[in-house]
């Protein structure tokens, strides 16, 4: 792909104008998103589509389907299987022994993008003989990435990295036990999918929809400002069963928020918390 240079630019005041416009003409409210990241993503769309700021506003208002396209492109959808293998080690050794004391294990992977983490969690549960009494909800604001997640078909070339991750987590087995390779694609095994549901959910505006024993939301809050982070953490708090676990990305910091007084730090390095009151 040719490299995109920033021939189209958007200023911070123009971003505010666009956020305000989008909020008025659609269900999408980006006002809690971090501005520098948003700026990069919007510039990327402007350069892909050759739109200046006026064209962009016009497209948001007048072109059918553009709002959905804009949200799909503005959100970051980078994910991996077994990203941060140490996190999965810690889940297996510290959290699963606790989770298995629940009769049913409901898990919410919030901001799951194309679903690789959901399938990683399914593998983890399967290996520990917990999958049959578990159910994983994978949600994202972006319906297009959820279509990919539901199919469970990924480019085979990515599986070298995924296998490296998996081997760092569990060197005894092989990740290839869990997918079938065909031509240049890898298809996730069917028995891993039966207890999974992918659905759209907007963390900025949607509400509690179930009660969970485990919520993972890794590298999603980094795109939110402190105010929206607080709102989302409150949503997680309300969505967790008592003694349920919350797992965030390793570089996310949330202890400043008052609701965190209701959590115990289980693992500082991998940002794992348990709801204790």
């Amino acid at each position: 792909m040719a490299e995109l240079r920033n021939s189209y630019d958007i200023s911070f005041p123009e971003i505010e104008e666009l956020i305000f416009l989008l909020k008025n003409v659609s269900d999408f409210d980006l006002s809690g998103y971090t501005r520098s990241s948003l700026k990069r993503r919007i510039q990327r769309i402007m350069n892909l589509e050759a739109l200046d700021f006026v064209d962009l506003k016009n497209a948001v208002i007048n072109i059918p389907g553009f709002q959905q396209f804009f949200i799909q492109e503005v959100t970051v959808n980078v994910t991996e299987m077994f990203r941060d293998p140490g996190f999965f080690n810690r889940l297996a050794s510290e959290i699963l022994p606790y989770l298995q004391t629940f009769p049913r294990i409901k898990i919410w992977s919030a901001g799951c993008s194309t679903g690789e983490e959901v399938y990683s969690l399914a593998i983890l549960l399967k290996e520990n003989n917990l999958y049959d009494r578990s159910f994983i909800y994978g949600t994202d604001i972006n319906s297009k990435v959820l279509d990919i997640a539901k199919k469970g078909i990924y480019p085979l070339k990515k599986f070298k990295e995924y296998s490296d991750n998996f081997n760092a987590y569990n060197s005894k087995e092989s990740l290839s036990n869990y997918y079938t390779a065909r031509y240049d694609a890898a298809i996730i095994n069917h028995d891993l999918r039966k207890n999974i549901l992918f659905s759209t959910h907007n963390l900025a505006s949607d509400q509690v929809f179930n009660e969970f024993q485990l919520i993972t939301c890794r590298n999603v809050l980094i795109y939110f400002d402190l105010k929206l982070q607080e709102k989302v953490i409150n949503l997680f708090y309300e969505s967790l069963a008592l003694f349920g676990f919350l797992c965030l990305g390793t570089k996310e910091t949330i202890l400043r928020h008052p609701v965190m007084e209701n959590f115990k730090v289980v693992d500082k390095e991998f940002n794992i918390y348990q709801k204790i009151k």
Partner: protein, 190 residues
Amino acid sequence: MESFANHIIVIGGSAGAYELIVDILDHLPATFAAAIVIVLHRNSKYETKIESSLSKRLNREVISIKDKYPILANCIYFAPPGYHTLVEPDHYFSLDVSEPVQFSRPSIDVFFESVAEVYGPKAIGFLLSGANNDGANGFKALLDAGATCYVQDPSEAVIDTMPKGGIASSENVKVLSNEEIVNYFNSISS
């Protein structure tokens, strides 16, 4: 008293830059008014102890950036591997896991471009040894925003691709020897 930094000094480097960075940090005065932020290419799959070993060596905290850390005066920061580091208009860091740029995450370009936007003439950029062209576009963005940019003399760099890229990005880039770079940091004021 912790306060937001008025000025930011940003350093980009890759292969061959680490030794000079250590030399720079060794010569810093006890207190300084700027925030110093270093983006060094490193592989996120292997844990590195750069921050902790430098903290021990310098006897002061060297901070590995986490999301929404404030950008404070008299602090030394490193961009974490596996993420792009950005600065926000309200002078906090934010992280981003979007695709690598110039095969790099962190990308020096991404960081410098965002610094240019927020700090403009209150930013000072350095580009050191490295084996790819990351940083050149970021240098141009910094200079266009009124920042001052210095590049390590390519003849002294372990690998000169990155400094040469910085020089090619604009005629306003100033070339400094290793000694001049270290002297610069030795004399930054509080």
